[in-house]
């Protein structure tokens, strides 16, 4: 192997991704974004003058597959860089491997993974912020403070799963800080079919605020039940995964109006970062064939960005040495399609950018309206605000 031959080899980025099983919807969309990044990078001449290539395996949404996949990537495929699969459950099992080899590990949407491992070279692209559990719902509760009259009671409901339970912990902490009385605090199993009994029980406690931490199918179920039953609250929503997906938005249509929910990117003027529209255009051109979210506002830009950060670090340091890369990522700000990204000491975003958005003015079920500014206005954080809160959620 002469140096010439070596230089001609592509730089290989390895990861496991959920292409089947429960997380496949997200995993496949992420993969699409990453492929676009690889294409973009190669069109621009690659990294260090070499092509980049993605090496990935299906982790089947099953954590048990993760350790094997990453050791294979590192010790047999000899990839140069590694990034994570989608979600906390599939990031954590890879951590010890990264730690034992001192590798830079870019995470894709894991919540507070590093709290336990405290690993210096872990970076999380999800803009949760330095204190992920709390930052997650900061917007919801900050806004609640501003309502007049001030809300007194809170109902919390969420799925029996990793993300939602963590989000609920944060919500409880905020409630305590704001002296809100928690009148309902329950979880439900992921296999629940009908949510009306749950929503009715919430309704019976007459809460001012309803904080929901849910996954896509339950988000739809809870929302529909809330509409059918006529749930009354001043604010409703918060941590509902799935309402960000176009496929779900277009089926719920006007039912979404008034919901406040977290989000990471929406087509509001305040969030018009350089490159994002180009990226989305490329993504949307191929999303249909791949059978993933047609608009791709939620996860794909971040999936693009986490490899983008890595790529920029490699270019800037002209190195594939993970020590050097790690130090560089810690010390610098990155320009990505999701805006400027800066990582704190624990590898989370230095400042939170969990947006709180509200669905407004949804008239029908067309896809097009969700691409227009104003359909989801940003209410929090201050820096990105693009509209004002409509409340109460329902009379």
């Amino acid at each position: 192997w002469g140096p010439g031959a070596r230089a001609a080899d592509p730089i290989r980025v390895g990861f496991g991704m959920a292409l089947t099983g429960g997380l496949a919807a997200a995993g496949k969309a992420a993969l699409l974004a990453m492929e676009i990044w690889a294409q973009d990078t190669n069109d621009a001449g690659g990294l260090l003058g070499r092509e980049v290539a993605l090496v990935y395996y299906d982790d089947q949404s099953n954590p048990a597959n993760v350790p094997g996949i990453y050791t294979k990537l590192l010790s047999i495929d000899q990839v140069d860089l590694v990034v994570s699969g989608y979600g906390t459950n599939l990031i954590a099992p890879a951590m010890p491997i990264m730690m034992s080899r001192d590798l830079v590990f870019m995470g894709l949407f894991g919540l507070a993974v590093n709290e336990q491992f405290d690993y210096d070279n872990y970076f999380q692209i999800m803009p949760a912020g330095p204190d992920p559990r709390l930052d997650w719902s900061r917007g919801f509760f900050s806004l609640a403070e501003t309502l007049a009259p001030k809300p007194k009671t809170l109902a919390i409901v969420g799925a029996d799963a990793e993300f939602s339970r963590n989000a609920m912990i944060g919500a409880r902490a905020h409630a305590e800080a704001a002296a809100l009385e928690i009148v309902y605090d329950r979880t439900y199993p992921p296999a629940t079919v009908d949510y009306s009994p749950i929503v009715r029980a919430i309704q019976a406690t007459k809460p001012n605020l309803v904080y929901v931490a849910s996954y896509p199918p339950d988000s739809v179920g809870i929302l529909r039940a809330a509409k059918e039953i006529g749930l009354k609250a001043r604010m409703f929503g918060g941590g509902m995964v799935g309402l960000q997906y176009a496929s779900i938005q277009t089926k719920l249509g006007p039912m979404l109006n008034g919901i406040v929910n977290y989000d990471f990117w929406v087509p509001e003027p305040t969030l018009n970062f350089p490159g994002i529209n180009e990226f989305l255009a490329k993504y949307q051109a191929v999303a249909g064939d791949a059978g993933v979210d047609p608009l791709g506002y939620y996860l794909p830009p971040y999936a693009y960005s986490y490899v983008q950060v890595l790529g920029q670090a490699v270019e800037a340091t002209q190195s594939l040495d993970h020590k050097i890369l790690g130090a560089y990522i810690h010390g610098h700000e990155f320009d990505t399609v999701v805006g400027k990204v800066e990582f704190g000491a624990n590898g989370e975003w230095a400042r939170t950018r969990v947006l709180l958005v509200q669905f407004q003015g949804i008239e029908d079920k067309s896809l097009e309206q969700f691409t227009r500014p104003g359909s989801r206005v940003v209410l929090y954080p201050e820096e990105w605000v693009s509209g004002t809160l409509d409340y109460p959620y329902a009379e």
Binding site: A24, P67, I76, P96, D160
Partner: protein
């Protein structure tokens, strides 16, 4: 395999496994082999109840998960060492096996299978709501930094699993050849007749559920260290229940060798598929393998091979 050769071969296997950890640097093989061996234990355990006794356990994942969560609890509470974890997990899962037996062994056939399924769901709900072991949000388990003799923890886990697999297979094999094995087979064939021939059916069935449960728990005990992050959804994953049934079925349920062959074959195929076919097609391969093998080798691979040999001899 000749009757006498088993234990020497078994010990040689363990020694070879330990030797391998010292020689082979590449960790990947140990990760993959760990999973395959874990399935050898699981499939063998299932077969003691399912194959020998004729009681189909749909809830293997629950026994496995109880073993894993037992470890988590002990690690959290006492930071207990691995041998203790294995023993404790075996004991707890064994007890649950015994309790399952008491609760459900009046049930026959499908009713028993469904009862184990129900039990698995009840257990999962309890773990989901037990915050000490992480509850639904899951829990992180950090591996010990160093282990004696091994230069990486996964090699150690691999060696441990090798010992467990050999032990499990050894247990299954001696059951099969003993009075107990014949009693279990009699239960499988006709329980009323077995009882009338002096076989203490309830006691033997309880023994079978306990041994089977113990071994499944043992298989799950090191798992938290393997994945380092455990949540109920993955610990109770359907794939354990599926594999525990499918592997003996593919290999053959009548002998101890069947589950071993099935686990090695299907387990390895799954590992290979995971890292070679980077798409949904790996699931398809598992599906097609399952369908293909049960159609083509109705008595399992072991049965097929035996039949072929017998036919060859006759000629």
């Amino acid at each position: 395999m000749a009757a006498k050769a088993f234990w020497p071969v078994a010990i040689a296997l363990i020694l070879a496994a330990i030797g391998l950890t010292q020689l082979l640097a590449n960790e990947y093989y140990f990760f993959a082999a760990y999973v395959v061996l874990q399935f050898v234990v699981l499939a063998t355990a299932w077969n003691i109840l399912g194959g020998y006794t004729g009681y189909v356990n749909f809830g293997s994942a629950a026994f496995f998960a109880v073993g894993a969560y037992c470890s988590v609890a002990l690690i959290k509470a006492f930071d207990a060492p691995l041998p203790v974890l294995i023993l404790a997990a075996g004991a707890v899962s064994g007890l649950i096996g015994l309790a399952t037996g008491y609760l459900t062994l009046r049930l026959k056939g499908v009713y028993f299978a469904i009862a184990t399924l129900a039990l698995a769901i009840v257990l999962e709900t309890f773990i989901t709501n037990w915050d000490f072991v992480g509850g639904a949000s899951g829990t992180f388990v950090l591996r010990p930094k160093e282990v004696w003799l091994f230069d990486s923890y996964i090699k150690f886990l691999f060696a441990v699993m090798m010992v467990l697999a050999v032990a499990a297979v050894g247990i299954a094999r001696s059951i099969e050849r003993s009075k107990l094995g014949r009693g279990l087979a009699a239960i499988r064939d006709d329980e009323v007749a077995a009882e009338c021939m002096g076989v203490p059916t309830l006691r033997l069935k309880l023994l079978a559920t306990t041994i089977s449960g113990t071994l499944m728990g043992v298989a799950g005990a090191p798992y938290p260290y393997y994945v380092t992050y455990l949540d109920p959804l993955s610990a109770f994953n359907l794939s354990y229940a599926v594999n525990a049934i499918a592997m003996p079925m593919i290999g053959g349920t009548m002998t101890w060798l069947g589950p071993v062959v099935g686990a090695l074959l299907l387990g390895t195929a799954q590992q290979v598929a995971t890292v070679t076919i980077s798409s949904e097609l790996n699931l398809l391969i598992v599906g097609v393998m399952l369908v293909g093998f049960v159609i083509l080798a109705p008595e399992g691979i072991v049965g097929l091979v035996r039949k072929t040999i017998r036919r060859g001899r006759r000629r």
